[in-house]
């Protein structure tokens, strides 16, 4: 039996010891003496969050198919264990072998959201790996990053040896092969990084120099090593059917956030909402083959024993063979007593019919994401959802027996006026009215409309990457406008209002569009005790502001400024297929309130056509 890294005394005195013992169903054990490469795959947040992430499951399966590689998992120790590990100087370990991460060949970290950046430093620190790549030696693993936040890796640049820009299924095998050659040749750390830098999609931050203008913006971003590429090209899997997909994903003992089979039906989104980073990063939209999905769904249910299956994609309603897939799942799942969960469906007659078959109407609620309160602003953000469609959907849902509706909006969008904010309250009121139009004897008591607003954070590689943000107080004022307007509505008792925290928004904005200078602030904030920033009970805005103050860096340089069209962005050296010119056009159209049709209606020439696949070639073969 395996010897655990933590002793009984520790495991019996911390919350949920199951987070740290591995041994889960479908986790992969290998003989460490029989492999050449040991890869630790990390999601820098608590186990239950990290285990819910499909990307890691895909790469874990793909790497472990290689006989020469053993890929294991590691997550952020929760603060209770963090404290003990620091006190006793215990090195962070991988779940499968329970061996220290510092003895691995690679530590791969998926970076899914900005508020996990301090946890990356926590993982390095607890692993007893130097925080900065420059301080690592031949004894240390190569630390690499990937995932959506690596599309602006600059605030994290000094902490990583390399970043993988794009989808993991593509060039990882080349990288691992190169590593084996390097290891056999017994060359220096720098020489491996030079080999890696030649592989498409791999970015080695140490091989680039940044020069700044006096105003703090970037003057030049240039390679300082002959092996480093001028531009890093995003790597994309063009055939999403004949590729890696885990048929035996790891099943946690404790309830993870996603305690279900996750079936990714497509990548990308045809819609082109101007605030949405995923919608641009994952272009072009690529659908998985229906037969493959049916077969995979069945295999996953058999190998995991999960009681629920969920479809995953940015906009499931746009999957062209959705009715066929759902019919199949309803039949298969009812025989197996597996529940179906269907997020991100547009509310229309089809989806209401499907949902009434798979959910208890009385217990479930319907979700709309109008994102903005007025049609004008919805046109600015290119959210192709009209008030008429929303009211019609709500009306149909109420007639079908639903009484609960959730509405999601953003505050702080470009060009937003007070009328747009108040529009949120008015839309909620109109929906409530639709409910009370139903004769009293045919409805079920009061309806419940939950309005949630988050504050908009401009992200790299979106048409809104030029947009300015606001101060914390301004955000709270915006939420107050909505709150008061809701209270002034006739059906206010049926409307509940929640809003997101403003200080997290400000920090997320800084990290999202930050440059290399932000890295020092990140390290300073971590050293002051900032960690688990995405958990409101642990988030310490004051520590971050102290760090900015002490380093003499102005946080508002990153937030308040509306960028000029000429500015060189920290992430401009990355190419995602979608061109900066297209994003500029979209930004200018947004300012004029002009909408852009979706990819299936009409090609807008975004640049992703260069990949020659997915929706860009639909109907052309």
């Amino acid at each position: 039996m395996r010897k655990l890294a933590l002793n009984d005394e520790i495991l019996l005195n911390i919350e949920k010891p199951a987070r740290y013992i591995g041994n889960e169903v479908n986790s992969v054990m290998k003989d460490k003496d029989q492999v050449d490469i040991r890869f630790a795959m990390c999601f820098p947040d608590v186990y239950e969050i990290g285990m819910s992430h499909l990307g890691i499951q895909i790469l874990y399966d793909m790497f472990n198919q290689r006989e020469d590689t053993w890929c294991e998992r590691v997550y952020s120790p929760w603060p209770d264990l963090d404290k003990i590990m620091r006190g006793e100087k215990l090195p962070l370990f991988a779940l499968e072998s329970q061996d220290p991460i510092k003895d691995f060949d690679f530590l791969g970290i998926t970076i899914q959201y900005e508020m996990c950046y301090t946890n990356i430093l926590q993982v390095l620190d607890l692993s007893q790996i130097p925080l900065r790549a420059a301080d690592r030696t031949e004894e240390h693993p190569f630390v690499m990053g990937g995932g959506p936040c690596s599309y602006n890796p600059e605030p994290l640049a000094p902490f990583f040896d390399m970043f993988y820009i794009g989808e993991g299924e593509t060039v990882f095998n080349d990288l691992l092969d190169a590593y084996k050659d390097w290891k056999k040749a017994g060359k220096s750390r720098k020489e491996f990084l030079e080999m890696a830098a030649e592989i498409p999609g791999i970015y080695v931050p140490a091989f680039y120099d940044v020069e700044y203008h006096e105003d703090g913006t970037i003057k030049a971003f240039t390679p300082n090593n002959p092996h480093a590429k001028e531009k890093i090209e995003k790597q994309v899997v063009m055939d999403v059917t004949h590729t890696y997909y885990p048929r035996k994903p790891v099943v946690p003992f404790i309830k993870a956030t996603q305690d279900r089979v996750v079936l990714e039906i497509q990548r990308g989104c045809i819609r082109g909402c101007r605030f949405c980073q995923a919608g641009m990063l994952y272009r072009p939209t690529r659908e998985r083959d229906l037969k493959f999905l049916k077969d995979t769904a069945r295999a996953l249910m058999e190998s995991t024993g999960h009681e629920e299956i969920s479809l995953s994609s940015l906009s499931s309603s746009d999957y062209s063979q959705l009715p066929e897939l759902i019919d199949y799942l309803i039949e298969e799942c009812s025989a197996r007593k597996v529940n179906i969960s269907l997020p991100s469906l547009r509310i229309d007659a089809f989806s209401l019919d499907v949902m009434s078959k798979v959910q208890d109407i009385k217990k479930s609620s319907l979700t709309f994401a109008p994102e903005a309160g007025s049609q004008r602003l919805r046109d600015v953000i290119n959210k192709g959802l009209t008030e008429e469609v929303i009211l019609d959907g709500a009306s149909k849902a109420f007639q079908g027996g639903w009484t609960r509706v959730k509405l999601y909006f953003m505050l702080g969008l470009p060009t937003e006026t007070e009328e747009d904010m108040k529009g949120i309250a008015h839309l909620a009121e109109e929906i409530a009215k639709k409910y009370y139009e139903i004769p009293k004897d045919q409805r079920h008591g009061r309806c419940q409309i939950v309005v949630s607003t988050s504050f908009f954070v401009p992200k790299p590689f979106t048409p809104f990457q030029w947009a300015g943000m606001f101060r914390k107080e301004d955000y709270l004022d915006k939420a107050k406008v909505v709150k008061e307007e809701i209270r002034a509505q006739l059906n206010q008792k049926s409307i509940k209002y929640n809003y997101h925290e403003a200080d997290v928004t400000v920090l997320e904005g800084i990290l999202a569009r930050g440059d290399r200078k932000v890295a020092d602030v990140l390290e300073a904030a971590y050293k002051k005790g900032a960690v688990f920033d995405s958990w409101s009970e642990y988030f310490r805005y004051d520590l971050w502001m102290e760090a900015f103050e002490e380093l003499g860096i102005d946080p508002e340089f990153y937030t308040l400024r509306e960028r000029s069209l000429e500015e060189i962005f920290p992430w401009d050296f990355i190419s995602i297929g979608v061109t900066k010119n297209f994003l500029k056009r979209e930004w200018e159209k947004a300012m004029k309130g002009e909408i852009t049709p979706n990819c299936r209606q009409q090609c807008s020439g975004c640049g992703a056509g260069a990949y020659k696949g997915g929706v860009c070639v639909e109907g052309k073969n």
Binding site: L11, L12, N23, V25, I254, E302, T304, G305, D360
Partner: protein, 235 residues
């Protein structure tokens, strides 16, 4: 058909709590392809019930749950199929059919359990603790302070300690279990440490459950039968 499944929980699995073990078996039964019965409604759940939840940190070779099956299966095949989908540390020991009625209700049947308790090195209740077990059990009563929500009260647990003796390096305990007289081995050992004049730390114990029993006795007479023996092998 109602079956009673006996399993062992060892090694690292002792850190998995009772609720998560229930979830684990719901998934395991699905993976094994056993045709379990489900409740009605939009989120059907498997009809299963566990006997005597085991605390975190305790290992066992005598855990039980009852499961309703729609399609009969032989004991041999069921054990094999379940063991093919277990993780290290979990092993299905037997699958037996139990009749409807009293014998078929694992939860309400539980009356006693056997434990082996040993000590972590250097955490024994003083020297010569082996010799003190007899005198400990010869006391007219064994009083412990039981904390309730409102106050503390003294309770005599001696009637609930059915057996206590040395077995090799360990202490064997046969204790009352179930909803009314449930007596945890930690409680008995705490009293024993106090009897030995030693300070008690829960961590000093290594507890292993060996068996769980039902009581078939009548009119106050005790006749303990293991939950497994209340069922019959399925051919």
């Amino acid at each position: 058909m109602k079956v009673r499944i006996k399993f062992a929980k060892q090694g690292a699995m002792k850190f998995i709590g009772h609720l998560d073990i229930m979830r684990y078996f719901q998934k395991a039964v699905k993976r094994a392809g056993l045709d379990a019965a489900y409740s009605e409604g939009f989120s059907p759940h498997m009809i299963m019930s566990f006997a005597a939840p085991l605390g975190v940190g305790i290992t066992s070779e005598g855990e039980y749950f009852d499961l309703e099956l729609k399609t009969p299966v032989s004991s041999k095949e069921a054990v094999e199929r379940l063991n093919q989908v277990m993780v290290e540390g979990m092993e299905v020991l037997s699958v037996r059919e139990v009749p409807e009625g009293k014998k078929g209700k694992a939860m309400s049947l539980v009356a006693a359990a056997d434990y082996l308790v040993s000590f972590r090195e250097g955490m024994e209740p003083g020297e010569n603790w082996q010799e003190k077990i007899r005198t400990f059990m010869e006391q007219p009563e064994i009083l412990i302070l039981k904390k309730t929500k409102k106050n503390e009260k003294e309770v005599d647990i001696k009637p609930y300690i059915y057996e206590m003796e040395i077995r090799g390096e360990s202490i064997f305990l046969k204790l009352a279990a179930g909803s009314v007289k449930n007596t945890k081995p930690e409680l008995v050992m705490e009293a024993f440490f106090a009897f030995c004049g030693q300070e008690f730390q829960p961590l000093s114990l290594l507890i292993h459950r060996v068996e769980v029993y039902g009581d078939l006795g009548e009119e106050g007479e005790r006749r303990l039968v293991s939950l497994e023996d209340l069922g019959e092998e399925i051919e």
